[in-house]
């Protein structure tokens, strides 16, 4: 499982500062990082499991 790092953006109200700001969303194989561009508050997610369907 090789996944290139994705860099995404999402406009939303920040959990920390409450302002409607842009959040940088970085996704790679093992982690997701979401960071408010305004206040710098960041949330991290760690890889937990994978659910794979049967290959056709």
């Amino acid at each position: 499982m090789v996944v290139k790092k994705w860099k995404l953006e999402k406009g939303a109200s920040c959990y920390n500062c409450g302002d409607a700001t842009i959040h940088d969303v970085e996704v790679d194989q093992y982690n997701i990082k979401i960071r408010c561009r305004d206040c710098g508050f960041a949330r991290f997610y760690a890889f937990h499991m994978v659910n794979l369907p049967d290959k056709k």
């Binding site: 996944v3 920040c14 959990y15 960071r35 960041a42 991290f44 659910n51 290959k55």
Partner: protein, 172 residues
């Protein structure tokens, strides 16, 4: 001296075709918010002389066959403004069938969602890349909740799950 600002629950029952007219009259009269209900109704003159079989099928069938489509527009208004609003409706619905009820309100309690839960919304993002599993160039959907995240391929359905690890306050 006790000053009371009474509120009235104004209910306007109209036939479907008069909904627009009634709502325009209400807005012209200065109401700020309202809600609308669609219902099936029978007026006393239609109902007169009727007696129904008591099994559920007959009762439901009667409503389907005889009751008319109607609309109920409700609004909470200040008591001192009620007369003006009612006059406005009566004027614009002259000659039409309608019923107006004015119900005094004893107390109003309004509760808003707490800010925390308001912010804890779910985000949905998309990224079109080759899937790590099926290899097809397909939209990968990302769903981010407060405590977990899921990324799945819209082509093959392979899904990766992530759990929140922590938060950090970085410098700007």
């Amino acid at each position: 001296m006790e000053v009371l600002f009474l509120k009235v629950h104004l209910r306007v029952f109209v036939e479907v075709e008069n909904l627009g007219k009634a709502m325009n009259a209400l807005v012209d009269a200065g109401i700020t918010g309202f809600y609308v209900l669609e219902y099936k109704g029978m007026s006393p003159q239609d109902w007169k002389g009727f007696s129904i079989k008591e099994d559920p099928k007959s009762a439901v069938g009667l409503i389907r066959d005889y009751a008319n489509d109607a609309m109920l527009i409700c609004s909470v208004v200040d008591e001192d403004k009620t007369d003006k609003i009612v006059e406005e409706i009566m004027e614009s619905l002259e000659g039409e069938k309608y019923t107006i009820l004015e119900v005094p309100i004893k107390r109003i309690i309004v509760n808003y969602k707490q800010k925390e839960s308001e912010r804890a919304e779910t985000w949905l993002l998309e990224k079109e890349v080759p899937c790590f599993y099926c290899g097809e160039n397909a939209v990968q959907r990302i769903r981010i909740d407060m405590n977990k995240a899921k990324i799945w391929c819209t082509n093959c359905g392979a899904a990766r799950y992530y759990l929140v690890k922590g938060v950090e306050k970085e410098e700007k």
